[in-house]
Amino acid sequence: MQAIILAAGHGTRLWPLSEARPKVMMPIGNKPILEHIVQSLVSNGVTEMAMVVGHRRGMIQSHFGDGSEFGALISYYEQSKPLGTAHALLCAKDFPRGDFLVLPGDNVISPEGIKELLAAEETNCALLARSPMPSKYGVVEMSDLIVSSMDEKPSRADTSIISTGVYRLGREVLKSMEGPVSDGSTGLTDVLSSLLPELSMRGIITRGTWCDAVYPWDVIDMSSRFVSLDGQSVAGRVESGVVMKGAVEIGEGTRIRAGCYIEGPVIIGKGCDIGPHVALSPVSIIGDNVSISSFSHISGSVLLSGSSIDSHCHISRSLIDSNVQVGPHFCSASRNAYGRVKEDLIPLNDIGCVIGSNTEVGGGVSVSPGAVVGTHCRLRDGTTVRENITDRSEVY
């Protein structure tokens, strides 16, 4: 079986995280979402895959190369304009020789889901899941085991069953898709939905884990869900007087200075400088080349590569994107709060803040729970941020 991964999307809903990378390259547990997908496929013996890439394709291709480092054989197809997922799939229409899998490159899927699709007897299958907010997705209705309708982002949903966007399809489906796509249909769900009568598509509700980062806060929870560590693996240098409990992974070239207290699960990347006297609480993910100075406490948070955290900072249930410079005494406490995305208010449990890449956070800054700070911002010393801040803002 071959697989086609749609990796050309921008993922703008994930702002500000989408500024620094395409959504498919968003690290979850220090590994891009796309790499999780490739691993799930490879572990099911699906090694031959095509990635449909678009803008920022370089970042994807330089990570995966020809795929051999990941046990796969990867070829690339370009979608030069963002014309939707159905069009993206047709960009790779020459790739499949027979039945194939289609996967959105920006959702994490566990190996079990792939296995369920491979085990099915029907040619055309849709992998389904239950979601607490079905109207964000393609809502699916079934009669017997066959999908009877798929409705993309309806205003009201009568069921919690949604399409994960992962399908198994016969090669001839690509031919049938050409008509609707040239008529202007863009979404894969829409196009397949219009073809349902002729497809007789089996719906499989997955027992495996599937998740999508719709909003930036989702990345924090996804990171903890997909961290599977056992025991401690230390490649860097840990000075004496460091306490490590539970599952901890420390990358090469990293130094953990004396007096640090690390309570796993915690992943620390390569080339970091942590401590002295830094506390890391579960589940925290620290990317490569991050430095954290003394007396800071990081709890349940994700810090991406190249960021530096000065002393006496408190960062709880927050996401700090790459190359953020945080001054001393920064406070990002967590509680139940609302996050704002455009006009919508989203209730969030126990949440801190999100800070976009390349932002400079001054000393003594405090950001309220649920607030999102854009990229390249400057928050001057002592300021308090209570709401979302757009990219390149300056806060006095």
Binding site: G45, G58, M59, E252, K270, G271, S307, N358
Partner: protein, 597 residues
């Protein structure tokens, strides 16, 4: 990274191995070797590129064999450390890619049993271990031995009087190729494409036995796995380039990673790194290099002087050799990507003769310069295929930043706090470079102004001046456009006479203390009607009125702007060459490593 290959079938095995190894050469090329089964085992290996091994290869008969090309990450390249390794009784030969973490512990056990070791490599431990468990069934012995091993590996093993090759992998790439009465194993698919397009990918913990009769694939517990082959339908060149049109573009995009790797390997122990003379105080530095490395040296001058206040001289290695003997310099730094550049090697000897302490900055572990110099700082860029240096140049820049910080720390020009700040800035560099790469399209658009140019000028000041020299060199190398890099202030001392409407000017107007001067230099040229391309930071508005084209780079501490600027200029020359239809990866008359004087 290393490459390995295994074959069993009707062909002359030495030809197959040689041919496939050449295709794997991009994975490493500091030593190579092969073992063939002609009744007994025959082994041939050589330090150096595969062509060296090919030249000295004796007549090797047989239809079953294994081959290896190595890129040393620890343990110098030498005949002794080259693969394959033989068991003590010369009945088993093995090649290996990866690292055996617990090799010291296993070695201890084997020594007690009386095994004699030829080398210090982890690989040799593996072959002796397999030999110890060998009880008539090689595959069983390999599986048993791997149970004792911790680490990463892909291996291929042969034994005498057998046409079987046993392979296994864990976290290191390995793929099987299926032919008609012949079968293959290789580190990647590119080595096989000439022979077959039916491949089976192996997964972690699996092993396989390859013979002319077929392939049997086994799980970690020995159970037989039935995995249908996949079909590869692309050309070899495409495969190796990972979807990029040229190696040069691929390598440009690899820079966030190569920069990060170079930083990671030294940053933790930077304060105590043993790269300086231990007894003497360094009061002057001389940097010797050729070509692109010379440009990295020029950046080094500004960086080291700025950080440490120690005066730095930069000389072209081939010139330094023939100068009169001046007083010794307390630290001489040699920069050479390959470690084999003839002039730089000779300059190294000359510097030692003059009584200087020598430090080499190179990308190749175990290359000649690493034996000549007193100390070595390695760039971790990995093998570079494109003749035009890109990722190795920026890795060299990182090396000079590291050296500058180390010198400044030792000479107390910089304290703990400054060191911490420099380190934080270095750590942020990989993402800064990613940001530049994200803007490749704007450079592609700017390349248009060179479409019909026969000549171009690159100007900059201070630490950005050498970057412009490098920018001009890149353009010359791959697009054959005559280009000159100039210190902006020198323009009116002659070259201004050459500027007209058909001579594009590229100017770096970045935010530092030379910005105002740069703007006035560009204005002078604008008056002559030359097409102007300005490289400026994101929020700069002034330059928009001056330039025909403006390319934005992310704001960065001025000290580190040569890195982001270099990446922008690499992309520029790449797109110019592409637009003009040049053979980007292999420019005429040029070779990757210059080993003649």
């Amino acid at each position: 990274m290393c490459g390995l290959i295994g074959y069993s079938g009707p062909r002359d095995v030495s030809e197959v191995l040689l041919d496939s190894l050449k295709k794997l050469e991009y994975r490493g090329y500091d030593s190579a070797g092969m073992a063939t089964v002609n009744g007994h085992l025959e082994v041939h290996k050589e330090k150096g590129e595969i062509s060296v091994m090919e030249k000295s290869m004796p007549w090797m008969e047989g239809n079953t064999g294994i081959g290896h090309t190595r890129w040393a990450t620890c343990g110098a390249p030498s005949w002794k450390n080259a693969h394959p390794f033989l068991s003590q009784d010369r009945r088993i030969a093995l090649v290996h890619n990866g690292i055996i973490e617990n090799h010291n512990q296993i070695r201890k056990g084997l020594l007690e049993n009386g095994t004699v070791f030829d080398s210090q490599t982890d690989t040799e431990v593996l072959v002796h271990l397999i030999s110890q468990y060998h009880n008539g069934d090689l595959h069983a012995a390999v599986r048993r031995a791997l149970e004792d091993v911790r680490g990463t590996y892909s291996i291929a093993v042969v034994e005498e009087f057998s046409d079987e090759v046993v392979v296994a992998r864990k976290e290191s790439p390995l793929v099987l190729g299926l032919g008609l009465n012949e079968n293959f194993a290789a580190s990647d698919v590119t080595a096989l494409l000439e022979y077959t397009s039916d491949v089976v990918y192996m997964e972690d913990g699996e092993s396989a036995v390859i013979s002319p009769r077929g392939i049997s694939l086994h799980g970690a517990d020995g159970s037989v796995i039935d995995r249908p082959p996949s079909k590869v339908e692309w050309s070899m060149e495409e495969a190796r380039k990972g979807g990029f049109e040229h190696y040069m573009l691929k390598e440009i995009f690899e820079q966030p990673r190569s920069i990060s790797e170079t930083i990671i390997s030294y940053i933790d122990e930077l304060e105590t790194l043993e790269i300086l003379p231990s007894r003497r105080k360094v009061d002057s530095v001389k940097i010797l290099a050729c070509g692109t490395s010379y440009n990295a040296g020029l950046v080094g001058k500004y960086v080291i002087e700025e950080l440490s206040g120690i005066p730095v001289q930069v000389e072209i290695a081939s010139e330094y050799r023939y100068t009169t003997k001046t007083n010794r310099c307390s630290l001489v730094v040699l920069i050479t990507q390959s470690g084999e550049t003839a002039d730089t090697l000779a300059a190294c000897r000359e510097a030692k003769e003059r009584g200087s302490y020598t430090l080499a900055i190179t990308n190749v572990v175990g290359s000649s310069i690493t034996r000549e110099a007193d100390a070595v700082l390695f760039t971790k860029a990995g093998p570079e295929i494109s003749v035009a240096a890109t990722k190795t140049y920026t890795a060299q820049l990182i090396a000079v930043y590291l050296l500058g910080a180390r010198l400044a720390y030792t000479s107390r020009a910089m304290g703990e706090e400054e060191m911490r700040i420099i380190k934080a800035s270095l750590r942020a560099l990989p993402n800064k470079v990613s940001e530049v790469l994200d803007r490749a399209q704007s450079l592609q658009a700017a390349a248009g102004i060179f479409r019909d140019a026969t000549s171009a000028f690159f100007i900059g000041r201070n630490r950005n001046f050498p970057s412009m020299l490098e920018g001009a060199l890149k353009l010359k190398e791959i697009s054959y456009v005559h280009a000159e890099g100039y210190a902006a202030g020198e323009l009116k001392h002659g070259p201004l006479a050459l500027l007209d409407e058909s001579t594009p000017l590229v100017a770096a107007c970045l935010d530092d203390h030379t910005y105002d001067k740069m703007v006035s230099n560009v204005s002078e040229v604008a008056a002559r009607g030359s097409p102007i391309l300005i490289i400026a930071t994101d929020d700069n508005e002034e330059c928009e009125t001056l330039a025909d084209h403006i390319v934005r780079v992310p704001p960065i501490e001025p000290l580190f702007s040569p890195v982001t600027l270099a990446v922008a200029l690499q992309l520029l020359s790449y797109y110019v060459a592409k637009e003009r239809g040049m053979p980007i990866d292999k420019p005429r008359n040029l070779a990757k490593s210059v080993t003649v004087e």
